[in-house]
């Protein structure tokens, strides 16, 4: 396949097969000591598996340092996995050659967290958007301009001519993020990875950008991985939620299931800490699990949440890693509380 071709719509996947399939993924980073070789590993992603279907949006929720960004970077092809496979469109991306990676990067769009940091300050909107097209081998200048116009219209930066000559600092935060999104969808990707796309924006602009992303996703049947630490926005933007803690996905399920019937004690803690605008909040204290997330160099044995968990089952949780249990259809949780042999009477939040 040559890169000069317009993006082909053909697919290697059969109907009902996932677009992206992550299997037993481990992303570890070496800790080097001078002269002593490898002293240990940062286990940023440890045994993660999931499927993402065409046209589906999933949210990966977790605190900073939980490994969600390492997972994202590995899916983008920026980190190499230590173990496991990432199958995109029927092909394993960790075995890609340079040329294949270039093709892969036209199929995957990336929306960065901080729009101002993601846009080069010395380039105009036009040159920012033209660059990916040049890299992808679109030789005809007129064709490039046409595609830029189309992408700008899709992100509602109109009239287009008013913005083409501007530099990033001349745009508002919301407009900058629209340009980042335009750049991500320019090559008509099938998968969009959005890393906290609205966390740097004002409340009202946040809604504007989330609405825009949702619309683009539905118009183009894009698959989206939405990475966030804010549970309150996921309902508006995804079908499924994956909750990540210390390198593992501890709970996954449909949005309503997770928000209304959460199972993992860590998910309970996240939900209890997420505020809703209610004047009664000022008169109560929130329950927060003690301590901080563990080191990923020496994660605790057994369940990684056990040192902070109020529901710990002594003799089990700190010894054995909990298996993944399906509590209701498509709702999976890694917690001993839902193993009938260990805990015959599973609790509710």
């Amino acid at each position: 396949m040559t890169l000069t071709d317009p993006a082909p719509v053909t697919t290697h996947i059969a109907p009902g097969e996932p677009l992206l399939s992550v299997r037993d993924l481990r992303v570890w980073f070496e800790l080097r000591r001078f002269g002593l070789g490898v002293a240990g590993y940062v286990r940023a992603v440890d045994d993660v598996s999931f499927d993402l279907y065409e046209g589906e949006a999933i949210a990966i929720v977790g605190e900073s340092g939980c490994g969600k960004s390492s997972l994202m970077r590995t899916i983008l092809g920026l980190n190499r996995p230590r173990e496991g496979r990432i199958i995109f469109d029927g092909r394993d991306i960790s075995r890609f050659t340079r040329e294949e990676l270039r093709w892969y990067r036209t199929r995957v769009g990336y929306v960065q967290q901080d729009p101002y940091g993601a846009l080069p300050p010395f380039m105009t909107v036009r040159s920012i958007l033209e660059e990916p097209l040049i890299v992808a081998g679109v030789k005809n200048r007129q064709a490039r301009i046409e595609r830029i116009r189309k992408a700008m219209q899709e992100v509602k930066m109109t009239p287009v001519d008013d913005f083409l000559g501007k530099f990033p600092h001349q745009l508002s935060g919301g407009q900058q993020q629209r340009i980042v999104i335009a750049r991500a969808i320019l090559l008509e990707p099938r998968l969009l990875v959005a890393d906290e796309p609205v966390s740097m924006l004002d409340a009202s602009v946040r809604v504007e950008i989330l609405t825009l992303l949702r619309q683009l996703q539905q118009d183009h049947r894009l698959s989206v991985i939405y990475i966030t630490h804010d549970l309150s926005t996921v309902r508006y933007f995804s079908e499924r939620i994956f909750v990540m803690y210390a390198g593992k996905i501890v709970e996954k399920g449909p949005v309503d299931e997770i928000l209304e019937r959460p199972k993992h004690p860590y998910t309970w803690a996240l939900l209890a800490a997420t505020p809703e605008p209610d004047p009664r909040n000022a008169h109560m204290f929130r329950e927060v699990p003690p301590g901080e997330p563990p080191s990923l160099i020496t994660p605790p044995p057994g369940c990684r949440f056990h040192p902070r968990c109020a529901k710990i089952i002594q003799g089990v949780c700190e010894v054995k890693v909990p298996p993944e249990k399906e509590v209701t259809p498509n709702h999976l949780v890694q917690c001993w509380l839902y193993d009938p042999d260990v805990s015959p009477d599973p609790p509710d939040m």
């Binding site: 605190e63 946040r206 809604v207 504007e208 309150s232 309902r235 508006y236 209304e260 004047p279 927060v288």
Partner: protein, 336 residues
Amino acid sequence: MMKNEHVLHVEDLYLYFVTKKGIVQAVDGVSFSLPRNSATVILGESGCGKSSLARAILRLLPRNVHTYTGKIALDGQNVMALDEDTFRDQIRWVRISMVPQAAMNALNPVLRVGDQVAEPAMVHLGVTKEEGWEMARRMFRYVGVPEGFLNRYPFELSGGMRQRVAIAMALVTSPSLIILDEPTSALDVLTQANIMNTLKRIKQETGTSYILITHDIATSSDLAEYVAVMYAGQIVEMNNAANFFSQPLHPYSQKLMASVPRLHGKQTLEFIPGRPPSLLSPPSGCRFASRCPLRFDKCDQDPPTFHLNGSIVKCWLYEHEGTLTTPASETIQPEE
């Protein structure tokens, strides 16, 4: 008597800056009062002048100030009348302190955090280094940082711990008012809940008052007893939290509330089309008129501030319900 009721009283505060493009009217005729031992949230989008308001109260002004007038009374004392030296000696960090935006990244990387927390006490209260460290130790206990961390450097602490250190720096002189500028915006949700708990406990235990500056409505409800909404340099609504979060008055406040994502429930999110006006040349009428769904003829004129059941709103819709005169109490009554 006001002296007992209010910790802070601001009247007709103006702060304009000179820039190459013209005069920026960052704070444009702001008046409000803060009851003692209360927490007031100033809500607004970026560029609405909320951080400038904080700097105007603390008189932390850049060089390009064009106009800085109005009345700021702290515990009944007019602090605008003080000269710069007296203000620095007696007011700033002694009676009003601040946790600036992104404070956790503003700590000095080459000084131990204990030194940094002790410094305001040594400079402003004239205590010795040993006394300063003793006070810092006490503050660390207060904000929930282990005492052993006094000897650490900022890079050895997590974001949440650094934010607590910044709060300890603001607390160490026992001020009667602390201005918190986006104190949790860069933190994870569990850390944020922790910091909010800490702030609430400090308020109960020390009797201090807070001004919380933020654009995050949901998080602000964790602390808010009163809410002031700022738009384009002006306060367009001030209300107690119970009224504000259930029935905001100003159309802008209503739109803001409709943009807050909720964990539960099915309501669709709304956003406000358009952008706030430029503070270089704000419109002569109501500044929100061009984005307001309820706009009518009268909105071409600048609306006065109407008082209504103890709330304040700057909108012509309340011309007939509200009154222009200031009620006797001059403050918003908390809901019983």
